[in-house]
């Protein structure tokens, strides 16, 4: 798979990342190298093979629905870059 500049910009954008103009070519080449291996998978017959997303076969792990202690608001906000009145604070999202 050949990776072009537009693809690099697209997948960076999906991850909320800027890519500098001078870095785009290098990223395109490096991603292309790894995806070249992926083309090798196309030679395998995978029809009817179930995908494995997880090594252990476990589903729907529940605990009892009981109240228990958790982090206090103060503790949960300790690492916040910005906060106010017990909330995380971010720049205005809705235009005036």
């Amino acid at each position: 798979m050949k990776v072009d500049k537009d693809i690099v910009r697209h997948v960076a954008d999906l991850g909320r990342l800027y890519v500098k103009d001078e870095d785009v070519d290098a990223f395109a080449e490096q991603l292309g190298e790894v995806l070249k291996w992926a083309d090798k998978l196309q030679e395998l017959d995978l029809d009817g093979v179930e995908p494995t997303a997880h090594a252990l076969d476990m589903k729907n792990v529940f605990r009892n629905d009981e109240r228990r202690e958790s982090l206090s608001t103060e503790k949960a906000l300790e690492n916040a870059p910005d906060k106010e009145d017990g909330y995380f604070k971010v720049p205005r999202i809705i235009e005036e």
Binding site: R16, A38, L41, P51, T52, N79, F88
Partner: protein, 485 residues
């Protein structure tokens, strides 16, 4: 007596017999760190004050005749991607440079509860992505055997701290080989337990379906003892297995007589260098001589494992790392508007390799590519898992090289990600199938350590440790510490 050289069980015995105090032991740890870490750079942070005061408390309690937890006073180091209450946990990333977790990871709590004293947090490739620690945003850890070489990665700091006798025990995490490969490069024992055996609660997630915490030590018995401490079900981790853990030391002296051991031929191809093959084959012959039934076997899908891993793990990483958005914790690098907050924080906060994996993951998951990349990766994973299941119907364990090459020079591979990824070629199949595997030192080539890998059935860590222990005994390499004869 040089206390820092003591292994975990020796340190415990000495403390139990009151041959030295916890304070003397912990003080020797920090003297050692002060002496060698300037060169090795294994630690991102150390916490001497708390550690010494904990040791004094233990000594006081011992003097009063109080009952102490089993490892009271034994020093341990923790990879800096496991949360430690009140102590910075950076993942070697700028984005978490000042993150102080408000809670302990379950493994950290288990170590504290059994009396271990946490002396510091060790260096890693940023978010555990890499094979050399060169991707750390702060500095590169050096291989204690040769300061021009990498210690391996991503748990390179933990491996180097144990190899250079700064600590007897360190925890690491293994997503695609990040415990076993640095253990091999640094000449120590490194163990990745079965997926689900050890709680991941409080481990900063890289690829959740692969990540597993495990120990580094200078001998197999120490690894078994530490596994007794950190194993077990944890309701805080929904992927933790509800299966009782045995006493892992019980099998250590049983030998290998009558055991069936498979040698997968593919692990000796895949670009594995002849000097590695020779040392590993010699170790296998040693085990053969001890009465095991050793046979060559084939796992033909192995050649597709690396590709499957490098499609699935970045996909999981791109999703896991979405949480670093500059809102709830970590660094925020713009306040102009929400878009620039996200983009500036993430673009400046993440290093090159992390960005590359996020992009790769987004590619594999995005519309139009999902079926050919991510989904195919998962299907190959099924084939690999099945192959292991079939072979483990006939064999107790498998033995193979841990790494394709000797430790490489710092700077040698860092500009070529695809080459760097090839370091994982012998270790990733195990992560795809969730199996337990250990790397044990099996020899030296021109002063560089070589590791051999022993792979077991799910939740049969005991047998892996049994073979590892026998190998350690018969090879009798001793617990060499670099720079000391």
């Amino acid at each position: 007596m040089k206390l820092h050289k003591l292994s975990l069980y020796e340190a415990k015995e000495g403390l139990d017999k009151k041959e030295f105090s916890a304070k003397e032991l912990v003080t020797s740890t920090f003297s050692r760190i002060n002496e060698v870490d300037e060169k090795i750079n294994a630690f991102i942070s150390v916490d001497e004050e708390t550690a010494i005061s904990k040791a004094e408390e233990i000594d006081d309690n011992r003097a009063k005749g109080e009952k102490l937890p089993p490892y009271a006073g034994v020093p341990v180091a923790i990879k800096d991607n496991m949360c430690t209450d009140g102590i910075k946990t950076t993942c070697a990333s700028k984005i978490l440079e000042n993150f102080v977790p408000p809670f302990d990871a379950t493994v950290v709590k288990m170590l504290r509860d059994t009396g271990f004293i946490m002396v510091g947090k060790t260096n890693l490739d940023e978010f555990a992505m890499g094979s050399s620690t060169e991707n750390s945003a702060f500095f590169t850890t050096k291989n204690p055997w040769d300061l021009n070489k990498v210690p391996g990665g991503s748990s390179g700091g933990s491996a180097a701290s144990v190899a250079s006798a700064e600590v007897p025990l360190a925890l690491g995490s293994d997503t695609g080989g990040s415990i076993r490969q640095p253990a091999a490069f640094c000449g120590v024992v490194g163990f990745k337990p079965t997926y689900g055996r050890v709680s991941r609660y409080g481990l900063v997630a890289f690829a959740s379906s692969f990540d597993q915490i495990g120990p580094f030590a200078r001998n197999v018995k120490d690894v078994a003892l530490s596994m007794n401490v950190i194993s077990g079900h944890d309701e805080m981790d929904s992927t933790s297995a509800d299966i009782d853990a045995p006493d892992f030391t019980k099998s250590l002296d049983k030998g290998v007589n009558g055991m069936k051991i498979g040698i997968p031929e593919e692990y000796f191809q895949l670009g594995v260098k002849s000097e590695i093959k020779n040392v590993v084959k010699n170790a296998i012959n040693t085990i053969d001589d001890q009465g095991a039934m050793v046979e060559d076997i084939s796992l033909p899908t192995t050649e597709y494992a690396l590709t499957s891993y490098y499609l699935i793990s970045p996909a999981e990483a791109s999703s896991n790392l979405a949480r670093f958005d500059g809102v709830r914790y970590g660094t925020r690098l713009s306040d102009e508007n929400l878009k620039s907050l996200y983009y500036e924080t993430r673009s400046q906060g993440f290093g090159e390799e992390v960005k590359r994996r996020i992009m790769l993951g987004n590619y594999a998951l995005s519309s139009g590519y999902y079926d050919d990349y991510y989904l195919k990766g998962l299907k190959v994973r099924t084939l690999i898992k099945r192959e292991f299941e079939d072979i483990f119907g006939k064999y107790d364990v498998l033995m193979a090289p841990t790494t394709p090459t000797l430790p490489f020079n710092i700077g040698e591979q860092i500009d070529d990600p695809a080459t760097m990824y090839l370091n994982d070629i012998c270790t990733v199949p195990v992560n795809l199938a969730g199996l337990p595997a250990i790397s044990v030192p099996c020899g030296f080539v021109e002063g560089n350590p070589v590791g051999i890998q022993i792979i077991g059935k799910p939740f049969d860590e005991a047998k892996v440790l049994q073979v590892a222990s026998e190998l350690e005994k018969t090879l009798n390499l001793g617990q060499k510490i670099p720079g000391e004869s």
